[in-house]
């Protein structure tokens, strides 16, 4: 944000602006940028998901639109979905029904402001950055509940109830898994977390100590559940609940859910990258030419891992999901915090 403000000041026409004006303009530019990135990542990742699923399943996936491997398929789908009729069921709670996709989208959009793309390049350099991300993304669950309730559809209600239970539960291991890292860094600022990992792959938190390694995988599993993707796609479970909470949604409103899902997917992958996988630092020290690019590439690799898991594993049942959360992941993440803390003390990292 500071960099952006500085940049804007240098531009002709912006020089005479007040600080407040600059801030608002900068925020607007940043918000537009973030939304564009989000929409773009939804488009890129739907295409990528189809191709990954396709090749995993011995087929090609989209091949027609746009000649080369159907690269324009997702664009075409987006255009199609925008052109679709917007149906609101007659018995639906109209206000909530309309508002729900916006809440979901807002929840995932808000969390993006604290993502550290490159040194100094972050929309809002908050002292409680990581905390803010988790807090903002938990808004999604309200949107899902609203959508399920407002649809006046029993399947949607089931999906919403499952989704709420799942997402509220999985926020705990998700946050707990990052605590060892926070202990190492001593800060919740996202920039600080990345800076603490400077100096090659061995300084990334995932490889600092065995407990952090376990914590990373705990974070990874919890993040899949948090984004409602297979094998933890309880709110949707297309073979049980038809389409879950968005059964009744069409057109633009469905697109919002869709957008939010992929934006969330990329977001949790980026969090994994900057918390555990060294953020913008390249694996070999000294090769940090394009920090933002390194960051995004790592994020895409995490997304690929996510997709790979999704297209391999069967779905767990809703009570097993809760079992996994409360009886496996929370104890293990707590163990990681304790273990990592003990290692820190014994190695003299903290006095």
């Amino acid at each position: 944000m500071d960099i952006l403000t500085a940049l804007l000041q240098g531009l002709p026409g912006f020089g005479g602006m007040s600080d407040q004006g600059l801030f608002i303009t900068g925020a607007a530019v940043m918000a537009t940028l973030m939304f564009t990135v989000m929409a773009l990542c939804a488009i890129v990742f739907t295409w990528m998901e189809r191709k990954v699923a396709g090749f995993i399943q011995s087929r090609y996936g989209p091949m027609r639109t746009g000649r080369w491997h159907g690269w324009a398929q997702a664009v075409a789908d987006m255009l199609k979905i925008l052109g679709k009729e917007d149906i609101i069921p007659a018995e639906a709670d109209k206000g909530l029904f309309v508002f729900a996709p916006l809440v979901v989208l807002l929840g995932s959009l808000l969390a993006w402001v604290a993502v550290p793309w490159a040194p100094g390049f972050v929309a809002a350099d908050l002292d409680l950055g990581l905390f803010f991300i988790f807090a903002a993304s938990s808004m999604v669950v309200i949107g899902i509940l609203m959508a399920g309730w407002a649809s006046n559809n029993k399947w949607a209600l089931y999906g919403a109830a499952r989704g709420a239970a799942q997402m509220v539960s999985y926020e705990i291991p998700l946050a707990l898994a990052t605590i060892p890292v926070i202990m190492h860094v001593g800060s919740l600022n996202t920039q600080d977390i990345v800076i603490a990992q400077q100096g090659g792959i061995w300084h990334w938190f995932i490889l600092r100590d065995p407990f952090l390694f376990v914590a990373f995988w705990m974070y990874f599993i919890a993040s899949i559940a948090e984004t409602n993707r297979g094998p933890f796609d309880m709110p949707e479970t297309e073979s049980e609940l038809v389409a879950g909470y968005h059964t009744e949604y069409t057109g633009m409103r469905f697109a919002f859910f869709f957008l939010a899902e992929y934006a969330n997917l990329f977001l949790v992958s980026l969090i994994a990258v900057f918390v555990f996988l060294g953020g913008w630092w390249s694996p070999i020290p000294g090769l940090d030419f394009a920090p933002a690019l390194t960051f995004v590439i790592k994020g895409i690799l995490m997304v690929f891992l996510n997709m790979w898991v999704r297209w391999t594993l069967p779905r767990v049942r809703v009570d097993q999901l809760m079992y996994l959360c409360w009886k496996v992941m929370i104890p293990v993440t707590l163990l990681c915090i304790v273990g990592s803390g003990i290692l820190m003390i014994t190695s003299g990292a903290v006095g």
Partner: protein
């Protein structure tokens, strides 16, 4: 919680808040639902995730096949048998021609019998592959679906080469089969395919799905059909064998030339949970694929020479007066035809006892007390085909 307790009253029947009466939620699962394998409708009464009552509603795919049987002749009706279990039409053809031949008391040429066995077993493999695939899909595993369809495609190609049809073959006629083996190395292709299936592909399925911990958790101890229930409800095929009953029409009530072949009857043993759970029914199908491969190999290696038709194809089939119930082991279970002939070219009555119809009935009993997700697993593990249920 046992079924009895659930029926008596759960959370829903109690008066939690004074003045507010809570009820069970009525839920229509189907006829348009991803997990009902067609147009089955299950009327559920649920309390949260727990199912209190399951009522299957059938008939969305009813095509009056038994009425049509009274209007067309025996050869023409072979075409309709294809449409019962459209995932294993060769088995359906086989069941029907066996029934007609039982009444006609005609001797079928040995070569034709071998070809019938080979094609019916290929069809059975194809059907079991679909069963694995869709069961995996019900459990949320997408990728095995495509892998199984890939192998099924090979089978369809093989059957297309011998019969000309891709999905609906109309291959068998009373008194033999319609065509001999094509002279383009068909036998070698079949052997090559089953070798590949046995050695490589089944291992892939096992790695990907069968022994996956999540899959086991989802299916073991779920939807347990005990032996007594299975017999009382007339369950047959993999459902009955999954409950630990070693019964297979091919062996125990032998028809065609199945008694000449050496194969085993896999039964559910409760390896991952209880005998008769969904996982047992699933693994019985996987092992039956291996046994079918064995039968095909034996049948092809001992393929005799000679004609493939006992009756001239051009002549209409006339069946002497009488009535007979003939049962065969189709991919889904015991497929029986009860034919009453009046001595003419058309059956007076042709009742079809379809395995899926009888197997599905058990849902009414076993589905109670399950979670909604487990009901999906149960229906998936029964491997029903609506074309056969509604006829």
């Amino acid at each position: 919680m046992s079924t009895g307790e659930l029926k008596k009253g759960g959370w829903a029947d109690q008066d939690h808040v004074p003045g507010i009466k809570s009820e069970l939620l009525e839920l229509n699962m189907g006829p348009q639902h991803p997990a009902t394998h067609g147009v089955l409708r299950l009327l559920l009464k649920t309390d949260g995730e727990i199912v209190y009552q399951v009522t299957p509603v059938l008939g969305y795919l009813h095509r009056c096949a038994e009425k049509i049987a009274e209007g067309v002749n025996y050869k023409q009706w072979v075409v309709y048998t294809d449409r019962f279990d459209y995932l294993a039409p060769m088995c359906c053809n086989h069941a029907y021609v066996t029934a007609v031949e039982k009444l006609m008391e005609v001797e079928v040429p040995r070569r034709a019998e071998h070809l019938r066995v080979v094609t019916a077993e290929l069809s059975r493999i194809a059907s079991h592959l679909i069963a694995l695939a869709t069961f995996g899909l019900d459990m949320g595993a997408w990728t095995p679906l495509l892998y199984c369809f890939r192998e099924r495609e090979e089978i369809l190609n093989l059957l297309e080469r011998i019969s000309g049809g891709r999905m609906l073959y109309n291959y068998m006629v009373p008194g033999g089969v319609r065509y001999d083996v094509p002279n383009d190395g068909w036998v070698e292709s079949v052997l090559e395919f089953i070798t590949m299936l046995e050695n490589k592909k089944i291992k892939d399925y096992n790695d990907l799905l069968t022994y996956n911990k999540i899959f086991i958790e989802r299916t073991a101890d779920v939807g347990v059909i005990d032996e007594a229930t299975a017999k009382a409800y007339g369950c047959t095929g993999p459902v009955l064998r999954g409950s630990g009953v070693k019964f297979d029409c091919r062996r125990d009530d032998s028809y065609s030339i199945y008694d000449k072949f050496d194969f085993e009857i896999p039964v559910g043993m409760g390896e991952q949970g209880t005998v008769g759970d969904c996982w047992d029914r699933y693994i019985v199908r996987v092992r039956e694929i291996e046994q079918s491969c064995r039968i095909i190999r034996q049948a092809l290696e001992s393929l005799p020479d000679g004609s493939v038709q006992a009756i001239d194809l051009i002549k209409p089939v006339k069946v002497p007066v009488g009535a007979a119930y003939s049962r065969t082991e189709s991919a889904k279970g015991e497929l029986g035809h009860y034919i009453i002939s009046d001595g003419g070219q058309t059956a007076f009555r042709n009742k079809v006892r379809s395995p899926s119809f009888c197997n599905l009935q058990v849902v009414e009993k076993v589905g109670v007390g399950q979670m909604v997700s487990d009901l999906v697993a149960l229906v998936g593990s029964l491997d029903i085909v609506l074309g056969e249920i509604d006829r």
